[in-house]
């Protein structure tokens, strides 16, 4: 109910309401973007674009489900496009590039906690499709069926990406612990 009110007030141009939506969901959006892209700077751009696009389409926007799910789905869609663009230009996202702490880029000010750094590093070693499925299922709380619909693939494909990704992630994290 609170989100519906915030969206309604946003539609009427309330800056306060937009600020509250941002404060409420910025962490979730950034965690998802960082886990998918393993780069805080690019993640920030993705979240920036999602909020901008949200405002630009606010007049036609109708909240039918959860605002959190909506925003996280937008983040995932945009992150996928960023990833595709990188692949098209022949610049593979460096799987070994660590999540950039704020100190690397003075103009940015995102501080990742230890768990997120660990997650970002581990996720970067998975194929993009697998990390996307795992994050959408765990963080955006989407069912396999919803993920399949959103990506335009079969539920079985989603399940197998999830299972392979999870197995691999487990091995990576175990290896980290042993180190």
């Amino acid at each position: 109910m609170e989100d519906k009110l915030l969206v309604l007030r946003c539609k009427r141009g309330s800056k306060d309401a937009l600020g509250r939506i941002y404060e409420k969901y910025k962490s979730d959006a950034l965690v998802l973007a960082i886990a998918l892209l393993n780069n805080t700077s690019v993640a920030e751009d993705v979240v920036h674009d999602v909020f901008l696009s949200f405002v630009q389409s606010i007049q036609k926007f109708r909240l039918t489900g959860s605002l959190r799910s909506y925003l996280l789905t937008c983040v995932a869609n945009r992150a996928r496009n960023v990833n595709k663009a990188k692949n098209r230009h022949g610049v593979e996202a460096d799987p070994q590039e660590p999540v950039s702490p704020a100190s690397d880029e003075p103009s940015r000010s995102i501080m990742c906690n230890e768990q997120l750094q660990q997650l970002g590093d581990a996720m970067a070693q998975l194929p993009y499709d697998q990390r996307e499925t795992i994050m959408l299922h765990f963080q955006a709380a989407m069912t396999f069926r919803t993920i399949a619909k959103s990506l335009g693939i079969s539920v079985n494909t989603v399940k197998s990406r999830y299972r392979y990704g999870l197995d691999k992630l487990r091995l990576i994290l175990d290896r980290e612990v042993r180190r």
């Binding site: 009110l5 309604l8 007030r9 946003c10 009427r12 141009g13 309330s14 800056k15 306060d16 309401a17 937009l18 600020g19 941002y22 910025k26 962490s27 950034l30 965690v31 960082i34 886990a35 920030e44 979240v47 920036h48 909020f51 901008l52 949200f54 405002v55 630009q56 606010i58 007049q59 704020a102 103009s107 940015r108 000010s109 995102i110 501080m111 990742c112 906690n113 768990q115 997120l116 660990q118 997650l119 795992i134 994050m135 765990f138 963080q139 999870l166 992630l169 487990r170 994290l173």
Partner: protein, 415 residues
Amino acid sequence: MKPEDEIRNLINNSDVTTGPETDKNVLGDALKHLEKFKKRQLAPSQSNMWRIIMKSPITRIAAAAVIIIGLGMTVYLIDKSTTPAWAIDQSIEAMKNYRVIYFSGRISMSWGDSFRGLGVQKLLELPESQGEFEMWAQADEGLSRSSKVKMVLPDNTVILGRKLQSYIKLAEGNTYDVQGDLMKIDPWPTYELLRILKEDTDSWTELYGRDAATGKDRIFVEYASSTENRFWKFEFDSESKLLVSLKQWEDRNNHEGSPIFDIRKIVYFEQLPDEIFEIDLPDSSKIISVNTPLHDPNYGMSAEGLTQEQACRKILTEFWQKVREQDFDGIRKLFPYSASWSDEVMRSNLGYDQGSVKLLEIGQIYEGKIGPVAPCTVQLKNERMVIDMIVMFREIDDKSSCVVHSNEGKPRPVE
């Protein structure tokens, strides 16, 4: 812990902290765009409302269906046989096509009184004055009640009601974002009201007349509701069959004085742009909740094992006892509309300034729209009044219970 749960925990515990630079970068741009959007979207003032309607593409599509019917000043009665035959079904059919209406007229109940029942009048600083008003209203899909209402008072106070949300902008600038159903029209004053009238033919009279100024034939219908303490006078245009004017009294037996609603101009639309039902509320608007816990099991009284009549008599006897004892928490529990009332509002709304209230008897219970209605005779100072009280029954978790819903119509002196 399962490996799957470990990964879930890792994701759930992942977090970021953003500094001012990121917030400025991400939120700043969004806010700039919102500001641009806001400038484009500023709600129209009343003065240019008609201009927006006539310029809107939606309105143009419906332009052929815009019908403006004003009430003539002088009407003389004529013989029924000299005018085309009129039947209520024709008017119901004609009004089925119009989901949006504009009407203007006069209300003879103070704005304070109108909202006092919800206990928000003091919170909202609504003007006490009564008088002229303009109203835009859109019906729900079934044309049974309003889904959006915008009322404009002579001092430019704007009250907007949309389902469970209401907005109020007072003339002097204070604005409110009200979480609750503050304003709606139920039944829809054209189609649904006539449909009810048709089904309830008790005390329905027809007169035929002609508007002296326009020469148009008119049909006048007077109707005393058998289920509510209300009386209406309708005027229909003989040619279009549409309702032209409407007067409503809150007393089915007395309609000599000023009607509580006197609607003198009605404009019918098939559709209007949404902008009509917008209002510009600044961020500083006060947020007030007036949601009524009518379906909350913590309110009301169990009706298990009781007949409807027994339950009505029991809850109303308890209610009036609590009113007499000034047991405000007890009143709030049985009468959920008062849940948000402060003690001060409670005293004012329940008439404690006129002395204590004592229940004398509960008369013959009759079936109302919301639930059974019981005429309660109460002693108030040196006067005996009859107040028709509505009891609402609920089934929550397979258990029957009831609450005091509200009073029906105006209290009346004992005959």
